[in-house]
């Protein structure tokens, strides 16, 4: 009867109701639940970092087969150098590790963005307006995308004066497209939170046996 899952369910139910109590008023129990959430998340992340990374990727391979895993000494050294950041006088030593992290991270992010996003998306944007190729709806959709992209770019054209009526009209159209995009993002965010609310209420009803 009192198995961990059962206890966990009722603790989760209690914490869920406590969080919902914020709708009435900010209170001590609500804040307690928030602190528990933050503390548990931090503690769990620390445990996973040790068990999944330090132990399984570093310590065990080095202990079991040091010669085959001698290359792990490099990340081990860089990781130890990071600890010098705790000492103000020796903190500069950790800059080596920080430089390595930032350098590799920036290189991977930039390279991945060019190869994985910019180039493929540019190619994908070159689409046909011909109904014979993509159909009537496809041609209309591509035309709307083209107009939206160009007009949105004109909205961000700040370097020159907008004396031309055509330019001002395009900028206004671009602003409208941008607002529609923001509205769509807000709407999808709202859908997400409604989905989370449904799942929580469903959980409460299930635990209560509704």
């Amino acid at each position: 009867m009192l198995n961990p899952d059962f206890i966990g369910q009722w603790v989760a139910l209690f914490l869920t109701l406590v969080v919902f109590s914020y709708l009435i008023k900010d209170n001590f129990l609500y804040r307690l639940a928030i602190h528990i959430l933050v503390g548990v998340a931090a503690g769990y992340a620390l445990l996973v970092a040790y068990k999944a990374v330090l132990e399984k990727m570093l310590i065990l391979p080095l202990l079991q087969d040091p010669q085959a895993n001698v290359g792990l000494v490099v990340p081990l050294t860089l990781g130890l150098l990071l600890l010098t950041k705790l000492l103000p006088r020796m903190g500069w030593i950790g800059n080596v590790s920080m430089a390595f992290l930032f350098g590799v991270g920036a290189a991977l992010a930039i390279g991945g963005a060019v190869v994985g996003t910019i180039w493929p998306q540019t190619l994908a944007s070159i689409s046909s307006f011909s109904p014979t190729h993509v159909g009537l709806s496809g041609a209309f959709n591509n035309f709307i995308l083209f107009v939206g992209a160009v007009s949105a770019l004109f909205y961000f054209y700040f370097t020159g004066t907008r004396k031309s009526k055509v330019l001002r009209a395009l900028a206004s159209l671009g602003k409208a497209f941008i607002m529609i995009a923001f509205g769509a993002l807000f709407a999808t965010g709202l859908v997400t939170f409604v989905s989370l609310l449904i799942s929580r209420i469903n959980f409460i009803l299930e635990v209560l046996g509704w």
């Binding site: 709708l23 999944a52 991945g112 994985g116 859908v191 799942s199």
Partner: protein
Amino acid sequence: MIYCPNCGTANREGSKYCNQCGARLTPEEGIICQICGTINSPENEKCVNCGASLKPAPPPEEKPAEELPKVPVFPEEIILTIEEEAPDFLADLRAKVQEVVLPEEEREVVPPEEEKPIFIAEERYEEEKPSEEEELLPPPAEEKPAVAVEYREEELPDWLKEAEEIVLPPEPSAPADWLKEVEIPWLEEEIVEVPVLAEIPPWLEALRPVEKAPEAPPPEEEAEEMGVLQGLKGLLKPAAIFGPPEKIPLRGEVAELSLGGEEVQKLIKLKPAAPAVKIKAPPKEIRTHRLLHFILLLAVLIPMLLGWPSMPSGSPPTPPGVEKFFQTVEALPPGSFVLVAFDYEPYMAGEMESVAYPVLTHLKGRGCRVALISLNPAGPALAQALGERAGFLYGEEFVNLGYIPGVEAGLRALGTSEGWLVRYDYLQGKPLDSFPAFQSVKGLKGWNLIVLFSGQSSTLLGWIEQVGSMVEAPMVAGVISGLKPYAEPYLGSGQLKGLLGGMADAAFYEAMLGKPSAATRAAPVQAFALLIALLVILVGSLMRGESHA
């Protein structure tokens, strides 16, 4: 004034500590500087303020007057020397001056052997001739002008009396006409130094003590109108309470603030508290956001309490991303290897599990072998629970690879490593090579499909950008509703072969799969709640527009 040896602040006489920095002003044993008055530590040889030597001058030895050394810089001998060796041009100059200035009967006729410089009053000098001891000290400065004025009144000619009032000319005046006629070679070349008032250097001027202006009487303060302090005047100092203290309390002293507080407390105790004035509370502001939260809560709760509604007939057509996703999974042959990434936070599990569960059941139905992996520390636990719920047999049908740190770097390393980047499984801690069902796949090689369940754009883009170009296996993604707009372009470009966006798309997937589950039940409720939210937004916008108008 006592100047602080530490910061130089001028403190009142008798102060023990500096008002500015709190440094001790009177060392137990100190030496007072004879120049600036600073009290220095006994071990100091020079004053910390002005740098003057602190060594006491050697006491003058009482010697008989005749034994005192004669300083050969003092007047008598010099004057005598000047008299004896006076150049001829001086005698000529005196004669010329007398010829020009004085009438003939007043001219002084001095025998050559008694000639002396006209600026020396010999008789007076002899009268006030100091003793030999006094000769060692310079004459007091105050006496100089008096002697000069007295001399001029008695002895000076008329032409000099005009300049009587000018005791210390600020700068040398232009030579008179008569002086221009006289040629004095050495006078033209040499600079005549005129005594002027010495200028005080800036650093010394900065140390000048500033006399505080007498403080104005404090303005009449208004009495407290309410509360326990009603009727009291001038008891609280708001500036001292809410601002920085005017001065740092010294050790052993009581700060003004605490004194004020004590006074207030005493008065409070002495005077009974006045009855509290009832103030009419302002009308409660309508907490709009709380109202909206309640409306949304009821919009979700009521349909669920009344029984789960079903989707109305004539539902919209299945989104193309869902259909592609389903067809991609459906095309997998039995025994295919599928790598499934669970990259979402626990708080997103409510929606993501409704998306992932039908996909896992579909993969289970297709007889696929699934490896679960995560870029999120909490992901492996979520994946493990969902894998077991979908009915996979651990070790034979699915294995949990655990957490991969570093997002982009971790994915890159996973793709470039020859073997498993993760050497041990998440659940049992066994080497991954010991699972015979997964011997033919390592790293990112050998997979037939990669399924991404992402709740964050960073992890989704990490997989697409870093791994998409390294693997030949198709990639499909299931994301939360809010992430669907970000993922749609990758579906259009073909980098994703299928896309499930949130609970609504999951409901379509379950409908195609023929196994309705949580997403199918939740979709109508979600639609109803969104309809209510849309109405609230419209009404709120209209009300706001009316209030603005």
